[in-house]
Symmetry: C2
Subunit: 392 residues, 2 copies
Amino acid sequence: MRTKRTSLGTLLHHVHVSGPLSRAALAERMGVNRSTILALTAELAAAGLVREEQPTGTTGAGRPSLVVRPESERFWVLAFDVAVDRLVAARVGLGGPILARIETDRPRAGVDLDLVVGRLAALGRELVDAAPPDSTCAGVGASYCGMIRPGDGMVRYGPELGWVDQAFGTELAKALDIGHPVAVGNEAHLGALAEHQRGAGTGVADLIYLHGDVGVGGGILVGGRLLGGDSGYGCEVGHMLVNPFDGRPCLCGSRGCLEAETGEYALLDAAGRGDGPVGAAAVRAVVTDALAGDPAASRAVAEVGDWLGIGVANLINLFNPGAVIFGGMLRDVYRAAAPQVAARIAQHAMPVSRERADLRLSAFADDTTLIGAAELGFAGLLADPSGDRGPL
Amino acid sequence: MRTKRTSLGTLLHHVHVSGPLSRAALAERMGVNRSTILALTAELAAAGLVREEQPTGTTGAGRPSLVVRPESERFWVLAFDVAVDRLVAARVGLGGPILARIETDRPRAGVDLDLVVGRLAALGRELVDAAPPDSTCAGVGASYCGMIRPGDGMVRYGPELGWVDQAFGTELAKALDIGHPVAVGNEAHLGALAEHQRGAGTGVADLIYLHGDVGVGGGILVGGRLLGGDSGYGCEVGHMLVNPFDGRPCLCGSRGCLEAETGEYALLDAAGRGDGPVGAAAVRAVVTDALAGDPAASRAVAEVGDWLGIGVANLINLFNPGAVIFGGMLRDVYRAAAPQVAARIAQHAMPVSRERADLRLSAFADDTTLIGAAELGFAGLLADPSGDRGPL
């Protein structure tokens, strides 16, 4: 029974991650025969999780093999993203498509747990109410810009919102009240998993995902697994001390942390725009101006890029990664600061450590962490489609 | 057959790591019944790998349960350690005791592959010739202060000896000519494994071992496994840039690396002893003088300890370790520089990241990397006592 559950989950996982696959392809990937695939597919189809259909775009003689496609409209999760400047909620279908998405600005002050939970719950209910009546919510995942206790979604530390030990996951589940727990993860951890599963890091078992927001977060895969450390709080890349002498103050109370030197405020200050608008649009404006040759913007990008390059070189020495992926605001910054980053890597990363480290941009623009949250929401269904959360 | 081989290896591994164990303890650890233990033990005893005997120091009524003890005198490995200031060769018995050990100074200049291999092979043959005639060499392991290619023991980069892409493992096996390949590992990687297996890090799945020599190396376990990275070159802690402004030159060609700021030469220079003797004894003299209140030595230790603390704080943020273990020369330095390290951790490591990070001294004084090399030598026998390398 356990074996069959596992096989159902494995098949569903394949079509969830890869999209429509022929029975032959599934048989090959799973190392089982086609009659087993037929039986598993029939069971998943009866539960409404997949359907079989003619492949599109096939040519040639003979009857084309049917493909198995996830029922993205019928099974979906709620995904939430609590970033510093915005709250996002989405319905994400099995297979990964974002079916509906709502984004609101997050007020920069007075953001206690009740306020954030209340707003997210309202967004979530709006999405649930608008979902097709014959569709099913399979889970809920949330991404948060802070250090999250594994298991219960407690925010142990989220300096951007001033949170310490706030029961975010538990409270959001209570406020949503749709019969699902809320699985919570650190935004950059989830970003790394999303890039590895279906983004710029597929097939790379040792990768580093760097996420820029007001802070800078890291998600690091070692041998295909997220580096959790002793208690789940690994990957705090943003608080690596890079500037020990006259570093900028950091929200954590220290100075000279990587995020203090490369985050949003560092870039805007360096560009002489510290008193102007903040947020992703302001960051992009600096990058755009730098790429167009504006001297102050170019200097700002070069300065931030230099610190970023030190951080990346250190990470390459420590992790010997196959890929380093820039996401969130750092995706924009890297587009303009690639020369500085490359120079620091050449100067400080061991040649042997860097020889296979490929630098890449996130595949998902602003939605990496949201997609990671959705994957968290799908985890229960994919682990066991016949379990409590599944329809079988 | 495979299951039985695995069980034989598992039992042998238990007594190798833990020393004499009763049949009852083995049955509990392996989750099998006592008659299985009896059969496995009989087979290993017939091959001469273990013997059963009365436990020492037992009291009380009833017949005491026999204990299973590894035959340390009969099965041993050759272990080599190529450090910057010395070459060490040892015979290490099953169960871990160092049965014989030869150490020589390493000439500081002109150390090409042939010279080092020739000297090590001579030391190794001396040990083999002096071994009891009815004893067996089960393998050969070597620790090297550089970046080692997994599989063939190629030294990709060893700046202290000026080596790039030198076929160390292959050549040493050829020169030894005793029918065993030579398994080679980076010294700090092996130190981490040794501490985890039988030293200061037993039971800690996420640990950081820092090894000081002329350079500074790191061995990091993530979830109980050595962090190899994409190609086996992870953990280059010593080349983390900590001083980006006026850092000391590093052997790697960069400046301000952790090892440039905390290695042997940094300490001796800071103590005003840069023109005097070098090596472990010179380092210990500075530490001893600092602990006795000598002002110049105290300042030197404080300065080096401050940089070391920055490095450790960064590693705690990145890895959320359960333990950080100081070995080699850093074991001495940390004894005197603990206040500086603690201060930097308090200042820069996230409270959540550091709450379970325990700072410890290596359990093996100068032999951590040698013991790690021996474990590498035993790996084949322990994986399969009935295989090519085993007597069964």
